[in-house]
Amino acid sequence: MTDRLNLYRFASPATFYPLAGAMIPYFVAVSVVFGIAGLWLGMLVAPTDFQQGEGYRIIFIHVPASWMSMFIYLIMAFWAAIGLAFNTRLSGMMAQALAPTGALMAFLSLWTGALWGKPMWGTWWVWDARLTSELILLFLYIGYMALTAAIDDARRADKAGGLLLLVGVVNIPIIYFSVQWWNTLHQGSSVNLAKSSMATTMLWGMLLMAMCFWMYSIAMALMRVRTIMLERERHTDWVKAELAHIVAGDEK
């Protein structure tokens, strides 16, 4: 019973708002630390790849960005399910706060992949399974953002967007498997985790960078969700109180 109450308490914007505000600096700090460590390992320490030369170092952002782009979509779908099932206000806000970061991650994955593809495959882009599904993922993000932006009423936007996320998430495995029939150029094998060719420094560099991206995404989402909360809850007393004492631009 008390557990339930607690959950509800933190799911309420009034309590989540200051909590989020307090946590942002920690996530930023942790992200920076992981980032520096990852870059140091990956860019300075890790040895040259015997197949790809130094070009492989793109992996230290390509793979984290790709992972995060997929992961964030799943998290958004999770929030959408919660929101539609229990009608909680927070879930819609979280989904909306995550979307831009997710879209940027998908974009980064495409960008770095393209920059990697040119030297390795001799072309910026091929219509291969992985690449295509990543592109579709970007479209799904953009579709979600366009839909929620087009609906003015926040509650309706949340519900409609949530529905879209759930439908889209069903689509993701379908896309993933459907493109298995395709010839695929994007080989996970060139730097395979299982093979010994991947030095431990490389592996650690990649994992550290992934942690860095993860923490960064959380920090960004929290930042954005705080703004969304103020906007949405502007008629509640706690926002009025909050607005009365913060000075735009130099709040703590």
């Binding site: 860019m43 300075l44 320490v45 890790a46 040895p47 040259t48 030369g53 130094e54 070009g55 170092r57 793109i58 952002i61 390509h62 960005a65 831009p100 970061t101 940027l104 974009f107 980064l108 960008w111 770095t112 920059l115 990697w116 040119k118 030297p119 960064y216 960004m220 930042m223 954005r224 705080r226 703004t227 103020l230 906007e231 502007r234 926002v239 009025k240 607005l243 009365a244 913060i246 735009a248 631009g249 709040e251």
Partner: protein, 62 residues
């Protein structure tokens, strides 16, 4: 322990400098711009809400 012989080697990235730094550059750019945009958006929202709040209190006071 450091893998590079010189700084210019590091920049050249064994001939892949354009691609590697292009990737890292774009990532750095985005990770720099995204928080700035989010923060500006926040400031704009707060000033707008404060203006609305002031207008409201003025109206009800009348």
């Amino acid at each position: 322990m450091i893998h590079w012989a010189s700084f210019s080697d590091f920049i050249a990235m064994g001939g892949y400098g354009f691609y590697v730094w292009g990737s890292f550059g774009m990532t750095a750019l985005i990770m720099a711009i995204e928080p700035i945009v989010a923060r500006r958006n926040r400031i704009a929202t707060i000033t707008r809400l404060q203006r609305q709040l002031r207008a409201e209190t003025r109206n009800t006071a009348e």
